[in-house]
């Protein structure tokens, strides 16, 4: 028979709403208390989103041509933090969020600039995500940028 059809049918049954096992609202309410919903006056995304996207693409093109000695790669995923800080919307100009890869600085000066550019691109994309949290394509750009950063680290010596 049509296995594909049966399979898709079974998989779709795994979907649908699932209520959390615990009541989450009290914690959410505590986290958002005192942080008013963002006012419409702060909708400024397009210029720096374009910059971040351009930077990510341009830097990526430069990074992947490097061929250096192979080295073990640190597991950046263990450094990642997805905690959303309780930041009042009125303080947008805080220092850029550090990325999971910020600590991995190449010792090779030829790669340092590329690494910094990638980190900047990553930070800007994270900033853009703060402005447009529903823009899932930004996660794609961020993934691409961070993948390039990982590739760079795999191919280069880095300061311990």
């Amino acid at each position: 028979m049509n296995h594909e059809f049966e399979w898709r049918n079974q998989m779709r049954k795994l979907g649908g709403p699932v209520e959390p096992a615990h009541e989450l609202w009290p914690d959410i309410a505590a986290r958002i208390a005192g942080a008013p919903a963002q006012s419409a006056s702060r909708r400024r995304i397009a210029p720096w989103l374009a910059l971040a996207a351009t930077l990510a693409v341009a830097v990526g093109a430069g990074v992947i041509v490097y061929r250096g000695p192979g080295h073990a790669t640190p597991d950046a995923s263990t450094q990642a933090s997805t905690q959303t800080p309780v930041a009042p919307p009125a303080t947008p100009a805080e220092e850029p969020q550090r990325t999971a890869l910020d600590w991995a600085v190449p010792s090779d000066p030829a790669l340092l600039a590329s690494a910094q550019n990638l980190d900047n691109a990553s930070a800007q994309l994270q900033g853009a995500l703060e402005q447009r949290p529903d823009a899932v394509f930004l996660v794609g750009l961020l993934n691409r940028t961070n993948a390039q950063r990982l590739r760079l680290m795999r191919k280069s010596p880095y300061a311990g």
Partner: protein, 192 residues
């Protein structure tokens, strides 16, 4: 946009009253937390369900991420422009929050020969078995393969959308799906 529309067809999903949501969003923007709580109550199941599947049924992590998603929704509510349903905006925000987990993971390799070898021999697993077995098997997949499988086979996204939003080529999305199904076939076949 289309992905969200597709996923709305998922079993058990009911469209909320859009006009009610619009009014609740406006009240929330005025600082009315009771209105936002109503939005939370109306949508938490769908958001949490998607996140839960994407993080491999890790209930604790899914609840943390669901909280994060609603806090971000509150903080970024003005970026909702009423061009789509609030439920769509919120769903995408929730998926985005879960996908952020995948950033920088080392299993982000593209199509590996060994993966294709592993997955060779059929398009879909021979037998999915019981729902519990299937959920467990999906949960044990590598994160990116799991994300592609969940988004494609469960949430109803297209490869183009997945590729765009996970930052991979369309071919890689297809390969990851093939890989995921191959791993599932091996797991479920072994249990059968």
């Amino acid at each position: 946009m289309q992905s969200a529309a597709l996923s709305m067809n998922a079993p058990g999903f009911e469209l909320p009253a859009v006009s009610d949501d619009a009014a609740l969003v406006r009240r929330s923007l005025d600082g009315d937390m009771a209105a936002f709580e109503q939005l939370y109550r109306g949508h938490v199941g769908r958001v949490h369900g998607a996140i839960l599947r994407l993080v491999g049924m890790d209930r604790g992590r899914a609840e943390e991420l669901t909280q994060d998603a609603f806090v971000r929704a509150w903080q970024k509510l003005s970026s909702f422009r009423h061009e789509s349903a609030f439920s769509t905006w919120l769903y995408r925000l929730g998926v985005n929050t879960a996908l952020m987990e995948l950033r920088g993971r080392r299993d982000s390799k593209e199509t590996d020969v060994e993966d294709l070898d592993l997955a060779a021999g059929g398009d879909v697993p021979f037998c999915a078995g019981e729902r519990g077995d299937l959920e467990r098997a999906v949960s044990n997949l590598p994160p990116r393969a799991r994300a592609v499988l969940v988004l494609h086979d469960v949430e109803g996204w297209k490869h183009e959308e997945i590729a765009n939003e996970l930052g991979m080529a369309v071919g890689s999305s297809k390969a990851q799906l093939h890989r995921a199904r191959g791993l599932l076939r091996r797991t479920l076949g072994g249990e059968a």
